[in-house]
């Protein structure tokens, strides 16, 4: 099993969610994060002076998936989070050893159905 983490633009969340939902991957967890990378910060003005905000608000998507579905999910995210501009974000895949659904106690693949 895998954990897919994607850092995407906040305004793309809606589209990514809908696309995943359509393909039956409706479950996910989302966190508000701030990131930096190649994208330059946002220039702001405070009382007449410019300053730069280094960290740009992004959204982190976390999806636990069976290993077979991982690639499909990654590519759905990529397609729908894509704008072509610097700052589109990244997708990471991590190994997962164990999953449990709290409500039923089901484990691993079963917990992900």
């Amino acid at each position: 099993m895998n954990k897919i983490e994607a850092i995407i633009r906040s305004e793309k969340l809606e589209a990514v969610k809908n696309a995943l939902d359509l393909k039956g991957f409706g479950s996910m967890t989302v966190t508000e994060v701030k990131g930096r990378g190649q994208q330059k910060g946002i220039k702001q003005i405070w009382r007449g002076r410019e300053y730069k905000i280094d960290f740009i608000p992004k959204v982190k998507l976390e999806i636990i998936s069976c290993s077979e579905k991982t690639d499909e999910i990654v590519s759905i995210i990529r397609e729908n989070a894509y704008s072509g501009n610097i700052g589109d974000g990244k997708i990471f895949v991590l190994p997962v050893e164990k999953v449990m659904r709290i409500r039923t106690g089901e484990c691993d693949e079963k917990a992900l159905e």
Partner: protein, 450 residues
């Protein structure tokens, strides 16, 4: 109103002739009457000024956080820049020829042309207070428009349009109805401005929102309006409280004098209409969905207030309750109508609140005026004419405000452009137009913040 102004003015003049020695020892009755009238007018002006922060909070709360500071800035500048424009030009166009004060002597049925810059003989103690009160109304008219164009209008366009409304659009309709112009000669009655302020503001807002087009994402491809929730419901409620508070000055101050003891009936009517509007909407919403839906309740109160503004002096409390209740319901219906039928995007609901209820308020004079004040009568007092006269006032407001709004916004479009770019709209106008967001240290959750 013109007659009132004249009477007050004549009294003031008379007194200064009769009692030239009054200043140096004890005060004459008329000196004292003047001072109480000044006190009343000034405090009313302060209250109407305070409505601006009510507008700002209400509107900012109803929209998304990424544009909320922009709304605050719009309202702040509309009274600031608007004060300069009204002082230098608008006041003269509106009250020139009304003889409301010395020096306001040039003007005809269509426009005034004396009192520019409040300079020369126009400037005295009375005209200063009078202008202060009037300038607040001009600012309120602009703030109404802000509600409909927010979240996408360029800030520079807003500045231009502020000047247009406070220097021209509002004062000229104001001249017609309050400055001795043709509507007042016809007998149209609009005590504190259901028409002059709210309908005019509301229909300029309609033109603006129409020309600007909807916010990105407001309508589906098939034209279905989407829900775009606001960000601070407490500001909406606080703003409404402040607006009611200020509205006491708006309506009861419009006697321009405290020696006119009708002020207390006006204040009571104002309050009852607000209460009734809130209550009718509360019951409507609870019966529909089981939820109280506080933002609609607030707008119910405001709808009631807009509606009572015109008739407030001419009707009895029971009529105020009725006018307010209907005003609340009108808001709810008109709000859906604008979204679903007109397919116009009016983020704060200015059209439903001010345009629709402004017209309702004008007509309500023709229905409920009972003759107890200045002899104004409507249907319930057996006078079937007044309602037609009021209708003329209403139609004039619609045509003038929508027409001028359309022209002005089209012109501004050519000069600065009306609308920010889609990227800026997505990012929010706070960052792109003002360089900072409203709450720099807080995490914001909105779907479409960049």
């Amino acid at each position: 109103m013109k007659k009132q102004l004249l009477i007050i003015y004549l009294i003031v003049m008379l007194v200064s002739l009769i009692s030239p020695a009054s200043a140096d020892n004890t005060l004459s009755n008329n000196d004292i009457a003047r001072s109480i009238n000044f006190t009343w007018l000034l405090i009313a002006a302060f209250l109407v000024f305070f409505m601006q922060v009510g507008f700002a909070m209400l509107g900012a709360g109803i929209i998304r956080v990424k544009n909320s500071l922009n709304f605050f800035t719009m309202v702040f500048m509309d009274f600031s820049l608007g004060a300069l424009a009204f002082w230098s030009i608008g006041f003269a166009l509106m009250f020139g020829g009304s003889n409301a004060s010395i020096g306001l002597d040039l003007g005809n049925a269509y426009v005034g042309y004396s009192g520019f810059l409040l300079a020369g003989k126009t400037f005295d103690n009375y005209s200063a207070g009078f202008m202060l009160f009037q300038v607040m109304f001009a600012a309120a008219t602009v703030s109404i428009v802000a509600c409909a164009v927010v979240e996408r209008l360029k800030f520079k366009a807003y500045l231009l349009y502020t000047v247009a409304v406070t220097a021209i659009i509002y004062p000229i309709y104001g001249h017609w109805i309050w400055g001795g112009g043709w509507l007042s000669q016809l007998g149209v009655k609009d005590f504190a401005g259901s028409g002059a302020v709210h309908a005019v503001g509301g229909f300029v807002a309609l033109a603006g929102a129409y020309l600007l087009g909807p916010r990105i994402g407001k309508f589906d491809k098939d034209g279905k309006p989407n829900v775009i929730p606001g960000h601070d419901i407490t500001y909406i409620v606080i703003g409404t409280f402040i607006l009611i508070f200020g509205w006491f000055g708006f309506n009861a101050g419009s006697t321009l004098s405290a020696t006119d003891l009708r002020i207390s009936v006006i204040a009571l009517n104002t309050f009852m209409a607000a209460a009734a509007g809130a209550t009718s909407v509360c019951f409507l919403m609870v019966s529909r969905s089981g939820k109280a839906d506080i933002t609609m309740i607030c707008n119910g109160a405001l709808g009631g207030l807009v509606a009572i503004t015109g008739p407030c002096a001419y009707v009895a409390p029971w009529a105020a309750v009725l006018i307010g209740m209907v005003g609340g319901i009108i808001f709810v219906k008109a709000y859906s109508f604008v979204e679903w039928k007109l397919k116009i995007d009016d983020p704060v609901g200015a059209i439903a609140c001010h345009a629709a209820n402004g017209i309702w308020g004008l007509l309500a004079v023709g229905i409920f005026a009972d003759g107890s004040y200045q002899g104004v009568t409507g249907l319930i007092a057996g006078n079937t004419d007044q309602i037609y006269i009021q209708l003329i006032g209403a139609i004039t407001a619609i045509v003038w405000a929508f027409g001028m709004g359309y022209i002005v916004f089209s012109l501004i479009d050519r000069i600065t452009g009306l609308r920010v770019s889609p990227e800026e709209e997505l990012q929010g106008l706070d960052i792109c137009e003002h360089g900072i967001c409203a709450y720099p240290e807080f995490s914001v959750n909105s779907k479409d913040t960049r």
